[in-house]
Amino acid sequence: MSFGQATKDAMASSMRADPTVLVIGEDIRWGGSFGQFRGLYEEFGDRVIDAPISESLIVSMSVGAALTGMRPVASMSFVEFAMGAMDEIVNQAAKIHYMFGGQASIPMVLRCADGTISSAAAQHSESLEALFCHVPGLKVVAPSNAKDAKGLLIASIKDPNPVIFLENKRIQTGRMEVPEDHYVIPLGKAAVVRQGHDISVIAYSVMVSAALNVAERLDTERGISVEVIDLRTLVPLDMETVRASVAKTKRGVVAHEAWRFAGLGAEISSQLSESLFAVLEAPIARVGAKSSHIPFSPPLEAAVVPTHDDLYEAVSATVVFGR
């Protein structure tokens, strides 16, 4: 099953189970930019609301609907377009539960496609999760594959908080087995997707498949045993699972496609050094994009965005550090 089909199934089964679930976004009656809404209008009619290219309104209207009894799933198409709604995301969606003393909740999901793919260039290629993670009151979800995306999206729709649901464009291209039933993958729980004992790679979104690939290579080529953690959710961040893994392996690398500077890797690395300073045998390494906009020309794009080889080198260097 494709990623688009899996997430569309998550919405359809949520809409069947709960009549307050609405879908709002641009072009959604036509299936959306990635086909992620295909077939919903035919089944759910007026609960599928075509919005103009008005990102600020899409978010504020979703907040207003959420405050008055609905559960909107809104689409921003590309995550860069959500920047036009940052006022509504940061000043309304994230704050209303808190600043009104818990009177009302905002059960809404904002689906955004992020990440680099085939020369989409600077305004359609970014990974902006750190911006959202920085603001209290927003949950941030970043699945690494279609099967997880379905269960995480169902959980996000059930959640009483605003959830930023980040869908990397490269994980949307493949196909995989996805169960047909309605299942939940809880928010705030990371998954150990590969057991290992020499080093932990903490990744999410598209970098999970990179980590699994690098782990296989290091195992075959050099007999290094790499544990891979898929964070799945960035807020809440499951540091318990991360700490348990790094406490065991004593070495870690955090990998994300977003910029390395002030990225999630900095937060995770810092928390690990605070809690595991005495047991760490190497500094926590970070792999991420270089501090540049994502260029158009293919060789330039490849020079900015982290590759499998970048991760391979970071893991190799960390595993031998101090030995």
Binding site: G64, T68, M70, D87, F100, Q103, S105, D159, P160
Partner: protein, 346 residues
Amino acid sequence: MSESEGRTYVPLPAHESALHTPKGELLQRLFEMVRIRVFEEQVLADYRARRIPGFTHMYLGQEACAVGVISCLQPSDYITSTHRGHGHCIARGLDMRAMMAELYGRSTGTCKGRGGSMHIADFRLGMLGANGIVAGGLGLAVGAALSARQRKSGAVAVSFFGDGGMNKGSCHEAMNFAGVARLPVIFVCENNRYAQYTAADRLSAGPSLAGRAGAYGFPGTTVDGNDVLAVGEAAGSAIERARHDEGPSLLVLDTYRHEGHSVGDAEAYRTREEVETYKSSDPIGRFIDWLVSARIATESDIEILWLEAQGEVADAVHFAEASPFPEPSDALDFVFASMERGGDVA
């Protein structure tokens, strides 16, 4: 022209149709305006005496806008408000004790001390919040109207905002979609003539703010916002229109704020004479004159209303002062909601 407390007020029009409105209803509107007036004067004094922290924006002079519109609403309807929101809250029936306690930063406040002056809300009354972001409430009201339509509740949503808010992109986005979807929403622009420190007409293109509604295909009307009866009449038709699925409306209520943008504003952008001139259009003085000259109410009927409001406000201050501050250990409550709708997570 007539005299009241030494000031001569610009008379209201005859409003012959309003002469048939029950006396109780008319006096109730005056009472709501008086409650706002007395509350705001108290807040101004308490703020200047540093008993209230933070920023606060006075609604003094604009009372007819909130009362004129909100008196036409049903309990199931929604409103969104602005940074200058105390008047909308009082007119909508929020508990004055809890409001005052919120301003004082106490745990018994409407928002348990998390919001303050710019963030008072009461969701039980469909009051979806004062909002510190200019034009922040329009989209929320559009969403509430969408939700009301989806649930077939028959409710309408009113969004209050100012002349400054008319120039935000979010205002355009909200009005465009409300027009397209013919949503049951009423956009109420209180034109108090200044967008913070700048005269509204200096930075607003086009001949009239109300005229902008025409571009979205719904009616826009300019109303004397210091005439509670005129506001009520215009709001009543806009609300009926929305309730009968005939789409949104824009009302531009011409009014004037007696105080500066926020308390402490030096008001270098306007003269004392200008303020004094506009005070002769004070909505309360004008309405009292109309009630008295139409022999609907006597001076003593009206005196009772002032005394009652003063008692209520004094009680609210007493309640606020006697209430405890929130516990510092609870500062992280309400960052996230729990799985139960409306709940909270410690």
